[in-house]
Chain length 421, copies 2
């Protein structure tokens, strides 16, 4: 099913739905466009256009495949980052156990493209969504689904919605990362009460514990380690209390993109339990990495011997106005670039086929459809130039592009990635 759905993506037509594609490619299929191997800079692509580096994407996929294998971790990269089924399948080809998602809509996207194992890193209490989920579980024995619960009321709402359905839904108890942190029960006693509530239902099956160390207050390696040890201890205690008796394996899950080295370290300490343990890492931002937030926070800075991720996005915009020696404006804006954690970074300028560093050029703001650039005395920027921008926060880059071109280092466009937000 997944393969057919992916093939249908390649049959979609280039048209008004997609930004940045060459006007003279309208009417081609996306597959035909990719097969033409056009050049991003000379074959009619129009700005703003977001390019994903083919080589860097492949590097990142391989690096996390090797990393998780080396540390004995199962991997369910968070799919909310890209919402790109083509990337989900490449992640799975590169060893991923499945895909993590955040909300039911994202589950329907993944299911439409044949993803068989889904970890929903959130509570799910919507009756209509739960009934559809139950129907999918009943119809497809290969479909493995796990979601979080962090309250007795949540368990009761799930149970009420699922009464009469055929298969129990697997859940993990979510432990909050601290007082004032995001979702998750705050104490082990509350987690035990949630586990009791699950045990009292026929519609749910407790299969493990989960949490998100990225929300540990004032996170540093010591605090993150301490919290992860609480999470492991919770799994040990619930196992000792027989709470996983109906599970086939015990899921212990954590891991965003900032602390997976500490997750690997603490999960290596998990003692033998009554069943095999699925140590499930969920980092998602690695697939594109970035030039801002995750460039700073990546665990590979602490463990350089294990490799380094590479920022795979570059947003190309065109200078449309140069009203003074101190200012220039490009035609990309909030519709095209992430702006929640950092503004874009001016990296390079292209004119007449020559690419130079964007010396003395700085992004100072984004309007809906404009990039504000401050230009110093050494800046060489003219109307018509293309400017290449680095970005921060993969999640809010992907979500602005229904279609992203994949280009090799020389600019050859080799693929088109569709996203579904």
């Amino acid at each position: 099913m997944g393969t057919e759905a992916l093939a249908r993506l390649a049959e979609e037509r280039v048209d008004h739905r997609f930004k940045g594609l060459p006007p003279d490619a309208h009417g081609l299929t996306l597959g035909e466009l990719a097969a033409q191997r056009r050049n991003l800079f000379t074959d009619g692509f129009t700005t703003p256009v977001l390019a994903l580096s083919a080589e860097r994407l492949e590097h990142n996929l391989r690096l996390m495949e090797a990393y998780t294998a080396r540390h004995g971790l199962a991997f369910a990269p968070h799919g909310k980052t890209s919402m790109a089924p083509q990337l989900f399948h490449r992640q799975i080809e590169h060893g991923a156990w499945g895909i993590t998602l955040a909300v039911p809509h994202q589950v329907w996207v993944a299911r439409a493209f044949g993803i068989e194992r889904i970890f929903l890193a959130n509570e799910l209490v919507d009756p209509a969504a739960l009934r559809r989920l139950a129907a999918e579980l009943a119809a497809d024995p290969a479909f493995r689904f796990v979601c979080c619960v962090d309250s007795v009321r949540g368990v009761e709402l799930m149970d009420a919605a699922l009464r009469g359905t055929a298969c129990p839904v697997d859940v993990v108890v979510e432990l909050g990362a601290g007082q004032g942190a995001r979702t998750g029960a705050r104490t082990e006693a509350e987690c035990a009460a949630v586990a009791d509530a699950v045990a009292a239902t026929k519609t749910l099956r407790l299969v493990g514990v989960a949490g998100y160390e990225g929300e540990v207050p004032q996170a540093n390696p010591e605090r993150v380690r301490a919290w992860l040890r609480r999470l492991v201890a919770l799994a040990v205690d619930l196992d000792a209390a027989g709470r996983f008796a109906r599970a086939g394996e015990i899921v212990v899950s954590a891991g965003g993109s900032a602390w997976f080295d500490v997750v690997a370290e603490v999960f290596a300490e998990i003692p033998e339990l009554s069943l095999p343990v699925l140590k499930l890492l969920r980092s998602g931002a690695y697939v594109s990495h970035d030039d801002g937030h995750y460039r700073e926070l990546t665990p590979f800075r602490r463990v350089p011997a294990e490799g380094a991720l590479e920022a795979a996005f570059r947003l190309w915009a065109q200078i449309v106005s140069r009203p003074s020696p101190e200012q220039a404006f490009a035609n990309a804006g909030k519709r095209d670039a992430a702006y929640d954690l950092h503004l874009p970074f001016a990296q390079v300028v292209r004119r007449d086929g020559v690419e130079r560093p964007a010396t003395d050029v700085r992004v100072t703001g984004l309007s809906d459809q404009h990039t504000w650039l401050s230009t110093g005395p050494a800046a060489d920027v003219e109307v018509g130039d293309w400017i290449g921008l680095g970005l921060s926060h993969p999640c809010t880059v992907f979500d602005k592009w229904p279609l992203i071109v994949v280009a090799e280092a020389d600019g050859t466009v080799v693929d088109c990635i569709r996203t579904f937000f």
Copy 2:
């Protein structure tokens, strides 16, 4: 052409592409779903789901139709706000001259849905986009297109790209709103040089002047009025110099959503020129209005006798976690809500069919997929409740939803609006 393309939208199928629609509606066409007149709260719609008020939308369309007619203004509402061809057509049915847009991709969207008059409020120097534009102008005599120029270099790049095409492209000189403002030539002398450069081409035709008073530094009514008078004087001077000799009418355009009262006032003072004058207002945010930025900035606060816009969006999310008396978390996040100007506003809570004010509930943050809620002693919020959120900045609300449901006050869903970002 436009009508057929709109009809095809109603034939699109409910599937994984669209957030919030009922799982049991998958496979229906959007038209069939609307015809079912389902209830937003009880008929399977799943959170997060964004609803546009049918009544408020209609009110806003009528109000600006009356306002622009009363003030003798032609209206090209900025389509970048919604990028919803269905709304473009309703705007035109409600008296709009055409649609304003910001980048070539948006022009292709409008053209795919048969929009005949387009004002591109930006410079356009991309050769591939210019050639496609020229081909559309040659193929469709009814297509009227105007764009901005603010530099001699821009004129030269346009001319080089358009050499050999059949019809000249209409341009207006853009006057910047001040030193340090956004695009637009900074001085009248520079504008005159741009006009000279246009006159020296066979590919471009100067038809007027434009600018954006929303970028006047430290804007207040006096400063905005002074700048608009500069814009009008520029039109008068260029006309006296014979620079519009090849035009059929003279375009004078300004007007975002914060100062259209001052635009109306100053444009009423435009003296007789050598040709009829098209006084073109471009405000776009009015169509949905909002509960934040434009609620504060709307000109109707200065001219209450002329009416008032109504905030038409409400984002519905579900409480999925209530880990402490002080905190709750809903399942909408940066993927669903605007966050560039304000956080969402907690307005109402629904439980068991009863809607109450969201007393003592406040949004304190957004993650990618979560709303952080602070809950005081008077808050009555439980896991499973729906929370209705007001939003700020229509442009960054629309762009997060490929499909938006239109609902009447009692929750009856009567239409589905598609957007193309």
